[in-house]
């Protein structure tokens, strides 16, 4: 297949990696966007979800927000945000044109997995454990910080991991509305019938997605206490540098 020969040629040509529109620059752009959006979503979503989970209220909202998020196509939301009129400049810092729309869309899409998982994580802490904590004379705050949070951490981490991979994937779609990121290589290759280039972009995106997934899985394992032998407390204290 000549297409794959083209792809290989594109990927191995150093010139395609360097420069402002090179693979490396776009990759960094997309990573920056992904990290910013994840940070925003965690800052907004995590406190709300953990607090609601602690109170045991708002469960209906927390669960259904993720169903709604699934039904709204990323592409449609991105398209709507791009077409909206924004106050101020059309360019948005290092993110380029359409960057603000992408950032908003990515943050919105990262919220459902973070909120749902965090809420469920805190809410599902066994009632006996919560009662024992109260029996030991812990205040609501102590109970939350010392008991619920450590027990909820693995599930919270899995929500953040899901969000990370989802953001990366969504950031690619931004190219369909002339947004920033690696998706540009793909759409560009397609619309100019340079399939080798398009597929090269797709491969880079897929490989980074897998790397991110593996890294996130490693991080999640680090915050997950050993359920088998060793005491869970030891495991959580050991993993603290990784989370900080």
């Amino acid at each position: 297949m000549t297409v794959f020969a083209d792809t290989w040629a594109y990927l191995t040509d150093g010139a395609n990696w360097s420069g402002d529109a090179g693979l490396l620059a776009l990759l960094l752009q997309q990573l920056l966007l992904t990290v910013t959006a994840l940070a925003l979503a965690v800052t907004i979503g995590l406190p709300i979800a953990l607090w609601l989970g602690h109170l045991g209220r708002g469960g209906f909202l927390a669960i259904n927000i993720s169903n709604i998020g699934r039904a709204v196509p990323t592409f449609a939301l991105l398209a709507l945000l791009v077409t909206l009129d924004y106050p101020g400049t059309e360019t948005f810092g290092p993110y380029g044109r359409a960057g603000l729309a992408t950032l908003i869309a990515l943050t919105l899409f990262a919220l459902p997995p973070i909120i749902t998982n965090s809420y469920v994580a805190v809410h599902e802490v066994p009632a006996e454990v919560k009662e024992s904590a109260r029996g030991m004379g812990m205040t609501g705050r102590q109970q939350f910080v010392r008991v619920e949070l450590p027990l909820a951490l693995p599930l919270v981490a899995s929500g953040v991991r899901l969000a990370l991979v989802q953001i990366w994937a969504t950031a690619t779609i931004a190219a369909l509305v002339a947004g920033p990121g690696l998706g540009r290589i793909i759409t560009d290759g397609f619309f100019r019938t340079n399939y080798g280039k398009g597929i090269a972009g797709a491969i880079v995106v897929a490989v980074v997605a897998l790397v991110l997934e593996l890294l996130a899985a490693g991080a999640q394992r680090a915050v997950t206490p050993d359920t088998g032998s060793g005491s869970p407390r030891k495991a959580t204290t050991k993993s603290q540098p990784a989370t900080g």
């Binding site: 196509p73 592409f75 398209a79 077409t83 690619t172 597929i199 995106v205 897929a206 997934e213």
Partner: protein, 243 residues
């Protein structure tokens, strides 16, 4: 001469302006415009039908492949880890990257979109089928064996019905996300309503954009409701229990 021409042209221009819908034209670009929906009804209906067809084909294909895979994974635990690992891997590949990877094999056809979406649906479905089959109580299985049920009858008469709620939950997730993902198929020109969204972005046509997006969400909700109703009908014994 030129004056008469102008005079003659004027009423025509006016009538054209009057016929032009008030909410979309070169000067007006409203988000909500029923006139647009009425004028381009055919286009919208065609896109919706294409969207529905692609979604259904993908989900059904995913279902057909997921079932034997789930059975195999259940029988051979070593295979289970592989199948789950590969399916997680597939799910991390962004759809915009997956479609181009398929194009050399299937070209710019609906097949490309359907295969890609079926792969995504498959990963969700295999998981939920395995979980569902695992949720069947051992007592139920043992009683059935005691009653003389064979492997096949056990599967179809006891295990599948009991696993149905979990499988249906997976099917709902798969269907709703497939409806949303179909829009990305506009990359290869077969994205159903996604094609209209893409056109709306490139021509900055807000009415087209919003109408297509709303239809897309409505389609997802409609299919979800249909699946919930189907599940109620298929599993009368769970009525009253919230899933």
């Amino acid at each position: 001469m030129s004056v008469t021409l102008l005079v003659e042209a004027a009423p025509q221009l006016q009538s054209a302006a009057a016929a032009e819908p008030s909410c979309y034209s070169r000067l007006v670009n409203d988000w909500v415009c029923w006139q647009y929906v009425a004028d381009r009804r055919e286009e919208l209906v065609d896109a919706t039908i294409q969207h529905l067809a692609i979604t259904l084909a993908a989900v059904v294909a995913g279902l057909v492949i997921a079932f034997p895979l789930a059975l195999l994974a259940r029988r051979y635990p070593r295979l289970e880890a592989t199948i789950l690992g590969v399916s997680t891997g597939v799910y991390t590949i962004p759809s915009l990257a997956l479609f181009p990877l398929l194009v050399p094999f299937t070209g710019l056809t609906p097949t490309t979109v359907i295969i890609g979406l079926a792969l995504y649906a498959l990963t969700v479905l295999v998981r939920s089928m395995l979980e569902g089959l695992r949720s069947v109580p051992d007592e139920a299985r043992e009683s059935a064996t005691g009653l003389g049920y064979g492997q096949t009858r056990l599967l179809y008469r006891i295990e599948l019905p009991l696993a149905l709620p979990v499988i249906m939950a997976g099917l709902r997730v798969a269907t709703v996300s497939t409806v949303a993902l179909t829009t990305v198929g506009s990359l290869v020109a077969y994205g159903g309503l996604g094609n209209l969204i893409k056109d709306g972005v490139s021509t900055n046509f807000r009415a087209e954009l919003l109408s297509a997006a709303v239809l897309c969400v409505a389609l997802a909700i409609l299919l979800d409701v249909l699946l919930v109703v189907t599940q109620r009908l298929l599993t009368p014994w769970t009525r009253g229990v919230t899933t």
